[in-house]
Amino acid sequence: MKRIYSAIFGALLIISLSCEENFSPKQEFEEQYIVSCVIGIGSESSSFSPSLYLTKSYDVDGLNPENGKTDPAVSGALGIIAYKYGNSYSLYEDSTIVYHPTIPDSVIYVHYNRYNNPYIIYSGGNIPVKYQTLQLNITLPNGKKLSSETELPRGIFLEYSYNFPHGITSKIDQWKYGNSWDITWTTEENQIYYSELKLYYYIENGSTKTYKSVEVPLQFVKNGNITEAVYPKFNNPGKLEYKYDALTTVLQNISKDVTDKNSIVIQNLKINITELDKELSAYYSSLNGFMDNYSVRLDEQVYSNINGGMGIFGSYRTTSVTHLVDKTFATSFGYRTNY
C-alpha cells in the first residue's frame, strides 16, 4: 500500500509541475475615443471658455499602461456646445470648439503631456455662465460622433454660526457661541463639495513682501505624541465646523520660523467652496471609491457620460468669500494687518 501511496503522490507531483501554460489577461484590443472636458467657473465669473481633450485608447506590451509611448491625442475633430433654452437647444454664437495648433505655443506656459508633447487642447470662445444646461457634440475626423450633456452648478450662499462684525477671532465667549465657527450652505443632492479656509499673509522684509498662504484645518487631533491636522474632504456636508483652537494654532504656527513677528502682515481669511456638478460628482466618486448608500461598487467601473465613447463632460463652480481677521486678535500674536 505504501508503494501505491508513493506512486500516486509522485504522479500528482509530476502532473502539477508539468502544467505550465501561456496566459494573457487581455482580450482583443478595441479602439475607443475619450473626451475630457471639465468646465471651471470662478466666484466672479460671468463666462467660461471650455477646454477639451480628445484622445483614443491604446495598447501596450504587457499590462502596465505606463509603458505606452505613443501620444494618443486626436486632432482634427470638431466640437459644438449648445445650451438649453426652454425645452430646445440653441447654439451660442461662439460655442464651436476646435483644436488650434498654435495655441500651446502661443502662450507663455506650455502644458506638456507625459509623452513630452504639448497637450492638444480644443477650445472655443466664451460662453455666458447664465446658460445652465450644456450639450456637447463632437464629430471625429473619421465621421464618428460623440455627445454628452451637463448642467452647471448654480452656486451657493454661505451662512455662519457667528457673524464677526470686526473680523474673525477665537476670542469669543465659547460657552455661549460654541467652540467652533460653523459655516453652512444648502446642498444639492448627488453633488460633491470641496471646501477650504485659507489664511493669506505676507512677510515684509524692507521693501520686499513675500506672500504666503496656509490652509486652516477643521481641527487638530492627537495621534499618540503627534498632533495631526484634519482638513475637509470631498463630500457633501453642507456644514463646516472650524474649531477656534485650530485657527489660534495656525496663527501661532506661521511665525515659528520667523524671528520678527512684527514682519508678518495678515491680509485675510478666504473660504472657497467648490461645487461639482452631478456628472463630475459621479465621475469623481467612481474614481475615488465608496459613495453609495450601502453598496460596494465594482472597482473597475469608471463613470462616463460620453455617448459613443468614454470620459467626462462636467463642470464645477467655486464660491469664494473673504473675511478679515480681527485686528486685535492678529496683533495679539505680534503680527500686523494691512487694513
Partner: protein
Amino acid sequence: MFIKTNVFIFIISFLFIQNSEIFCQQTGSLRGFLTDSTNGEAIIYANVVIKDVDRGSSTDKNGYFFIPAIPPGKRTVIISYLGYTTKTVSAVIIDGKITELDLKLSPSSIKLNELQVVADKMVRQNETDLGLQKITAKEIEYTPANVESDVFKIIQASPGVSSTGDVTSRYYVRGGGGDQNEVLLNGVTLYNPFHALGIFSSIDPEMISGLEFYKGGFEPKYGNRLSSILNVITKDGNKNEFAATGQASMLAGKLMLEGPIPDGSFIVTARKSYYTDILKNFLNDKSAPFDFYDLSFKVNYSNPYFDKGSKFIVHGFYSNDFINNNNPLKENYLTENLILGGIWRRVWSSPLFSVFNVSYSGYKAKVDANLSEAKPRENTLDDISMNFDFTYVYQSKDELQFGVQNKFLSSSLKQENLLNKTTTFDQTGWDLSIYFNYKFYRWEKVGLDLGFRSKLSGLSKNRPFLIEPRFSFTYLPSSLIAFKFAGGWYSQEVVTLTNENELISIYEPWIIVPNYLNSPQAIHLITGIKTYFTENLTLEVETYYKSVSNLFDVNSRKYDARFFDYKNLDGESYGADAQLKLNSSPLYFTASYSLSWSFKIDEGYKFSPRYDRRHTVNILLAYDLGADWETSATWNFASGMPFTPVAGFYDRLYNENDPPYYFNDNFIPSTIWGNKNSKRLPVYHRMDLSLSKKLQIHLADITLGVSVINIYNRQNIFYFDKKTGEQINMLPVMPSAFVKVKI
C-alpha cells in the same frame, strides 16, 4: 397568526401522541440513543441492526435510532460503527410497544480502524438522502491545515463545491452565491461564520461532532437559503470525566474544557489569535492589525426522574473580529456574532420524536471611520427563532416530519455615503413557516419523500405566497446500486450585501430583501447514482440543474444616490459531480470531480460569476503509518476562474486635491476593462501535506503536527493589480505547525 399556527401544530402532534396505538399492529419497535462509552458523546451515523430480521437503522445527528415493524420476541441487536468495537445485545420486542434501549460503544483498540469514519453502506439503502453529505470531525482532521485547521476547507473539497482561492474559506455550492449557503450551529443560523475577512472559519473544529452538508434538494425542514445548508453539530462534552485540551498553531491558541455535571455534561471552548503576522501571506494590506477570538459553550441535562425521554441543552457561541488601528485618523472595523440557544429534545411514549429549539442569533458589523476618509457603516441583525420539529415513525417504516418555524428578524443598516448623507435601512419581519414531509420507507427497493414548506408570513415585501414543494426519490434495483432523484422550490429573504467580484470583503452587512426588489427563488433538480462496489468502496455521481430568479446583485451602474444600490437578476447552473471513496484501513482515500456551468444574466448579458469553475478535482489521501504516526495529502485542481480581461488602456482625467486645479490637465494612464468575466485565469492546482504524531507523556496525550501548504509552490494567480498590471499570486509554499495537549 403566531398563536393559531403554533397551536395547530401542537394539536397535530398531540393527536399523534394520543393515537399511537392505532399504528401498532403485530409488531413492536426499538429505539434509543447510542453513545461513546469513554466520554458519553453521541455516536452519529452508526448502524443498528436486528439480526435475523431485515430491520435496521442508522443513528441520527443526536445518536438517536428508531427501528419500527420488528416481529415480537427476543431479538439480537448488533451495533457497529467503524472505529468502535461491534457490540451485540439482546432486546425483547413486544407487540404494539416500543422497547427502549440506550447503548454504549467502546472505541476499538485496533489502531487500523481509527482512520475509518463513516460506514458508507447504510443499513437503510433506500434512504432519500440525495445531495446530503455527512462529515465527521475525523475527516476534518485529515485535511492539512491552512495554518489553522478549518471546517470549511473540507467543504470546499466536496464535489460540487468551489472556492475563489487560497485566501478565503468562502464556498460556493453548485453555482450558487456565497450568501445562498446557510450555516447552522446546533440548528441556529450563524450569519458570519468567518474570521479575518473570510480567511478562516470561526467554528473551532475541536467542538464539532459532525456535519450535515446539504448541497441541494434539501428537505422541507430547511428553508431560507437557495443553495446549501451546513448543519454543524457540536460535541456534548465528556460525561465521564473532566478533560482539558490546549492547542497552539502559528496563528491562534485554543483551549477546551469538558466534563460531567449531575445528569449531564458541559463543554467550553475558547480560541484567540496571537500572531496575526502570518496573515500577511493572505492579505494585500500587510499592515492591517487583525485580531480575533471566539468562545462557545454547551451544557446538557437529561434526568429520567425529572422528565423521562427529555434532554435539555443550553448552548452559546460568540466570535469577534476587529481591526483596531489606534489612530484617530484611521478607521476601525468590527464584526461580531452572538448565538444563545436552548433545545428541548424529547422522545415521547408514542413513536414521536420532537425538538423544540429557541434561539437568538445576533450579528453586528461596523466601520468606525474616526477622522479617516472611510465612511461610517453599521449593520446589525437580530434573529429570534422558535422552532418545533416533530418526527413520527409508523410501523410501516414510513416517517412523517412536520413542524412550525418562527423567525422574528430585525435588520438595521446605517451608512454614510460619499455625499455625507446618512442612509438608514431598517426592516423587521416575521417568517412563519410550516412544513410537512412524508417519507415512504415501506418498500425495500424504493424510498420516497413528498413534502412541502409554506410561508404563512414572510420577512420581505415582494415575495410570492410560496408553497415550496420538495421531493426525493430512491430506487434500488439491487443492493449494489441506487438511483436517486430529488428536487424542490426554494426561497431566500435575508441576503448579504456582498459584491462577489470583491476579492476580499471587510464589511458584509446582512439585510432583509429591500422593498424595491423581489425575493430570490430557486428550483433544484438533482439526479444521482450511488454504487457500492464493496463495503469500503463507493462511488456517487450526481447531476443537477438549478434555475434561480430574482438574484440579489450589485448595481454596477450605480454612481450616485439617483440609482438603486442593488438589482434583481436571473441565473442558472448545471453540472455533474462524482466522488469515489475508499475506506480501507490504513488508507482513507477520496477523489471527487465536478463539472459545472454557472451563469448570471444581467440586462441580457450572460456571464459566469467568479466562482464558476468548469472542472474541479479534489483528492485526499490519509494514511496511518503506525506507531501513532498519521499523514495526509490533498491535491486540488480547478479550471481557472472567470475574470474581466483588459480591453486596452487610456489616459484618464483625474483630480488633484488642490483647488483650483481640479481636473485640468492631470491625466493618468489607466485600464479599459473588457466584457465582464469573459476570460479565465490559468488552471489552479496545489498540493498540501501534513504529518502528525501522538505521544503520551504521563497523563497528557500530546499531538504534534506539521503541514506544508502548496508544497511545490505553484504560482496560482489571484488577480492582476489594476494600476500596475502586476500579477498577484495566491499562497506560496508555506509550512506551519501545531501542538495539541489533552489532559
